[in-house]
Symmetry: C2
C-alpha cells in the first residue's frame, strides 16, 4: 500500500477545488443572460460550494492514466464540469418537496426554497443539458453514454427511487449496498472511468480503476451515513440526523456504527491496493480522504 504525501495531497485538493470552481464559473451561462431567473438558480446551486470530489477524482484518474496534459482544456476539464453539473442537478431534484423535501444544502437554502419549485425543476433540467453538451464536446461519444448510464435508471435514478421507496422499511445489508452503489457509487465510479477513458487507458487499467471506483463509491456513501449520525452540522452544511428523521435505510443502521466504519476502512484499503505505485498518484490520496473526511 502506497502512503500518500499528506501535504501534497492537501495542496492538490485545494488547487483542484479552485480549478473546478473556475471551470464551473466559465461554463455556466452568465446570470445577465436571458432567462435570468433560471441562470441565477443554476449558478446559485452550483457555485454554493461543495467538495467537488467527483470532478477531482476524474482529473486524478486522467493523470493516473497519463492523459495528455496539452489536451486537458478540450477533454477532461469539460468532462469534470459536466460531472459536477450532473451532481448538482441531482441534488436540486432530490431536495424537492415531492422527494427528500430538504431545506438546507451546502449551508444555504435549497434551490426550490430560494427560487420556487418550477424554477428548481427547470434549473436542474438545464444543468442536465449543459452537462451533456459539455461531455459531447470532449468528442467522445463513449463518455456521453458512460455518463448517461451512470445517472439513469440502472444507476443514480434507480438508487434514488429505491431510497425513497425504502423509507420506513427494514433492509438487509445487501439491499443497502445495492441502493448505495446506485445512488452514490455509480457517479463516482463513472468519474474514475471517464478520466481513464479520456486519457486513453488500456482495458486492464480501466478494469482495475472500475473496481477502484466501485469501492471508493460505496465507502463514500457509508461515510456519508456515519456523518449524518455523528457529523458536525456546520462543517457539513446540511442538517444532521435527517436520515433517521426520514426513516432512511442507512448502512450503520443495519450493521451498527463500529462495523460500518470498519467496512468503510476495508473498502478504502482494498481500493488502494488496486493502484499501481505511480509518481502522480492522487487517486491514492483521494481514497484515503474519502475514508477520513469530516464533511
Amino acid at each position: 500500500m502506497i502512503s500518500a504525501d499528506k501535504v501534497d495531497g492537501k495542496l492538490f485538493l485545494e488547487e483542484s477545488k479552485r480549478l473546478v470552481d473556475g471551470l464551473l464559473d466559465k461554463y455556466l451561462p452568465p446570470e445577465s443572460a436571458d432567462p435570468v431567473r433560471i441562470h441565477e438558480a443554476m449558478r446559485y446551486s452550483v457555485l454554493a460550494g461543495g467538495k467537488r470530489v467527483r470532478p477531482i477524482i476524474a482529473d486524478a484518474s486522467y493523470r493516473y492514466c497519463c492523459g495528455n496534459e496539452s489536451q486537458k482544456e478540450e477533454t477532461i476539464y469539460k468532462a469534470m464540469t459536466a460531472i459536477e453539473l450532473v451532481h448538482t442537478y441531482s441534488l436540486i431534484h432530490d431536495d424537492l418537496p415531492c422527494m427528500d423535501d430538504d431545506n438546507l444544502r451546502r449551508g444555504i437554502l435549497t434551490c426550490h426554497k430560494k427560487f420556487g419549485e418550477a424554477v428548481a425543476v427547470l434549473a436542474g433540467d438545464a444543468l442536465h443539458d449543459v452537462a451533456f453538451s459539455l461531455m459531447a464536446q470532449t468528442n467522445s461519444p463513449i463518455a456521453v453514454v458512460e455518463l448517461a448510464q451512470a445517472i439513469g435508471t440502472s444507476g443514480m435514478i434507480g438508487g434514488q427511487i429505491a431510497d425513497i421507496e425504502s423509507e420506513g422499511k427494514v433492509l438487509t445489508e445487501d439491499e443497502i449496498i445495492s441502493i448505495h452503489n446506485r445512488k452514490t457509487g455509480a457517479l463516482i465510479r463513472c468519474s474514475v472511468r471517464i478520466g481513464a477513458i479520456l486519457a486513453g487507458a488500456t482495458e486492464l487499467e480501466l478494469k482495475k480503476l472500475t473496481e477502484f471506483g466501485e469501492k471508493i463509491g460505496l465507502a463514500f456513501q457509508i461515510v456519508d451515513d456515519l456523518l449524518d449520525i455523528q457529523g458536525d452540522q456546520e462543517l457539513l452544511g446540511k442538517e444532521t440526523g435527517s436520515d433517521s428523521k426520514k426513516q432512511k435505510a442507512t448502512y450503520p443502521g443495519v450493521t451498527g456504527k463500529k462495523e460500518a466504519r470498519e467496512i468503510a476502512n476495508k473498502l478504502i484499503n482494498e481500493a488502494i491496493s488496486l493502484l499501481d505505485n505511480k509518481e502522480d498518484n492522487m487517486l491514492n490520496f483521494l481514497a484515503e480522504y474519502i475514508g477520513q473526511r469530516e464533511n
Copy 2:
C-alpha cells in the same frame, strides 16, 4: 411550390408513426426491469400515443438530404428516438403541479396524476438520460450538442420559463414569437437539423433547412394555440381552453384568430418555398400537414 401527393403523404405519416412507436418500444427499458415503477412511468408517458411529428420530421430531413439508407439503424433511428424521448420528458415536467398543473395528456392522466410527483420527476429525468445516450450512440458529438442546446435555456427551457412568467401579462407579438420559437420551435428546428447533419448535408442545405425548421416550428405552435381555442378535445387528447384558463399568452390572443391563421399559412408557404423539388420530399408534405392538422 411543390404539391405533395396526399395519398403518399398520409401513408408516409402512418408508416412513420408505426416505425417511431416500434423504435420507442425497442429502446425503452422493459417494465419488468428494476426500478419497475420508473420504467412503468416512462413507458406509460412515451407510449401513450402522440403524433411523433418531431422524429418524423428528422427522418424526412435525413431522406431529403439523401442520408445513407443502410446506416439508418445506427444513426437517424437512434436520433429520432432520442428526440421523441426528450419531447416526452419535457411534457412530463411541464405538466407537474408546480408548472402547468395539467391532469390530461394524450387522452390519459398525466404522469404525476398516475404515478405521483416523485416518480414523474424521475421518469422525466430518466427519459432525458436515455435520449442523450441514444443520441451519443449515433457517434455524432455534434448532434448531441445540437440537442442539448435546443432544449436548454436558450431553447425549450427558456421558452417554458418565459411562458410561465408571462401568465396573466399582456405581451406584444414579438414577445409571443420569442416564446414560441424557444418553447416549441427550437426542438422542431433541431429535428430538421439533426436529420440533415446525420445525412451529411452541405452547409447550404443545412442553412436552408434551418430556416425551414424555424418557420414550421413557429407555425406548429400558432396552430397549437388555435386548436386550444377551437379544437376537438377528443381528437386532441387534452383539455381545450386551457391557455385561456391559465391566462397564457397566445398568438391568436394578440393578433386575433383570423390573422393567426393567415400567419401560420404564410409561414408554411415560405417554408415550402425553401425546399428543392426532390423526388423524396416528405418535408413538403409535413409542412402542409403542420399547417392543417386537427390534433
